[in-house]
């Protein structure tokens, strides 16, 4: 074949080795390991046997409240941050495509948190949200409000973590929406001006419908990020207080720390199956965009 001579297959070797051995293989091997009793304390890795094959999975979903808590926290985190980042990101994008002086300055400011390391952002907000001398509670006390224990209150902590994550992530979503808004043909707006449409009407009847493809993509991106979140939770609360903010990836890290390797692998595999479904959806989306191009 001519194509194979001009575009030789050995060009793929580097990527296939890296990706195959260090990314794909652990994912597949991990599913196998989730059916074993592998732990730090066992010399050998033993298969659980056909009768007990799914024991780790049963434990994850039903057996131990701790593990199902990881799952619900992860889903809550994903659900809430996806919606809030989309709404705020879109609002900021609409604002920052209007006629504003120093537009690029504002865009850059709102985007900067997105380039910082999530770990660093976590540390910064450990200070900001400090109940005793943090700047947020100091500000609230000036208004006569006694600020809560943002990260110490088990009911509040996960919401604080989500708020910090939104601060970090919405600039990125905004940037994507800005690109989307800029690609809308100005003729639509000109026509609606002639018809005397107001700002809200223009948003509702032009901007929003035209942004639907963009919105789908930002949603998928937010979902992928939310399900895999680790750094920001680890830096802010490390899953605490108790297990109040424990998400899947911080939970997996703890399982690893305790030497419960099979259980950690099980949690990873649950996520893998879930994410592959999301992945199929994403690839279909991207292909559709390519066809339309």
């Amino acid at each position: 074949m001519k194509a194979r001579r001009i575009y030789p297959t050995y060009f793929l070797i580097g990527s296939l080795l890296l990706y195959g051995v260090l990314y794909l293989l652990p994912g597949i091997a991990g599913i196998g390991l989730s059916f074993t009793d592998w732990s730090q304390f066992s010399d050998k890795i033993n298969f659980l046997g056909f009768d007990h094959m799914f024991d780790n999975y049963i434990k994850a979903f039903a057996g131990d409240e701790k593990y199902s808590g990881y799952l619900t926290n992860t889903l809550l985190f994903t659900f809430v941050t996806t919606i809030v980042k989309n709404v705020l990101g879109l609002a900021l994008a609409v604002l920052l495509t209007k006629r504003i002086k120093l537009l690029n300055f504002h865009r850059a400011v709102m985007y900067i948190p997105a380039v910082l390391s999530a770990l660093i952002v976590g540390l910064i907000f450990r200070s900001v949200l400090n109940p005793a001398d943090g700047i947020l509670n100091a500000f609230l006390s000036k208004l006569g409000i006694e600020g809560p224990q943002w990260l110490g209150d088990p009911d509040l902590a996960i919401w604080s973590v989500m708020a910090v994550d939104t601060w970090k992530g919405m600039g990125y979503i905004m940037t994507i929406f800005i690109a989307g808004i800029m690609s809308i043909s100005p003729t639509y707006y000109e026509a609606s001006d002639i018809d005397g449409a107001g700002a809200w009407q223009k948003f509702k009847s032009i901007t929003l419908p035209m942004l639907m493809p963009t919105l789908t993509v930002t949603t998928v991106l937010n979902v992928i990020y939310g399900l895999r979140v680790f750094d920001i939770v680890y830096a802010l609360t490390n899953g605490g207080p108790g297990y109040a903010t424990e998400v899947l990836y911080t939970g997996i890290y703890k399982e690893y720390g305790y030497g419960r390797y099979a259980m950690g692998s099980t949690l990873s595999s649950i996520m893998l199956v879930f994410m592959i479904l999301v992945g199929f959806f994403l690839i279909r989306l991207m292909n559709r965009n390519e066809v339309e191009e």
Binding site: Y7, G27, I112, L123, A138
Partner: protein, 275 residues
Amino acid sequence: MMAHKKIMRTIGINIFAWVLSIILITPLILILINSLKTKGEASLMNLSLPQEIQLSNFTTVIEKGKLDTAFLNSLIYSVFSVVLCTLTSSMAAYVLSRNRSKANRIIYFIIVLGITMPINFIALMKIMQILQIVNTRIGIILLYAAIQTPFNVFLIYSFVGKIPRDIDEAAIIDGCSPLRLFFSIVFPLLKPVLVTVMVLTFLNTWNEYVLPLYYLSKTDYWPMTEAVYNFFGMYFRDWNLICADIVLTSLPVIIVYLLGQKYIVSGMTAGAVKG
């Protein structure tokens, strides 16, 4: 009357943008100001300016937090993974895009699936133990290159499609080998997307925290993120030093961001917006 209303609205929007920007940037200003204070002043963690600027905080942190080694480590990991990943990803993306045979389509699909696929860190540990690359610099560089392969292949793949095929055929007729065709003709044409890939890979590697947490226990091999977190654990009362550490860790990222802003934005929005 209409014009008057319009001006008011423009002013209003501008003020609103400023208020938002200021609120969003305040945490960062807070860190910057407190990195210049004494321990006593910084313990209050407020926005008042320092009595006297304490640049010595930075030298203290570099010394106590071993930031010089950490900086070098981060630089080594970032630079090498950028070079390795850009090279392998561009070669793969080029062939996958040009020769869309059935096998290649499947390979592309599986690679791109990695954009969403989570890593099984525990099973990966086993594999790294077998390969004997746990706790090594080369191991972590390979990992960084591996985890960024899917997105980079995806980005470059769509760009290759925009380069006309005629060039390839002309070069082959002139007796070019596939390797020479790629490196001396196609590679330079990929420059815009490669710059994006390089900037993003650099930033991601610099900011990454999870892989060293699992696979580098030797403190001498720690990158900046790892060093800063460890420092935070040891000196959690010295907010002036912690802030100085945060500033030093984030500075390279912000510089790269400001220099490569155009490329970052184009990379991050690629695929998200058609056209």
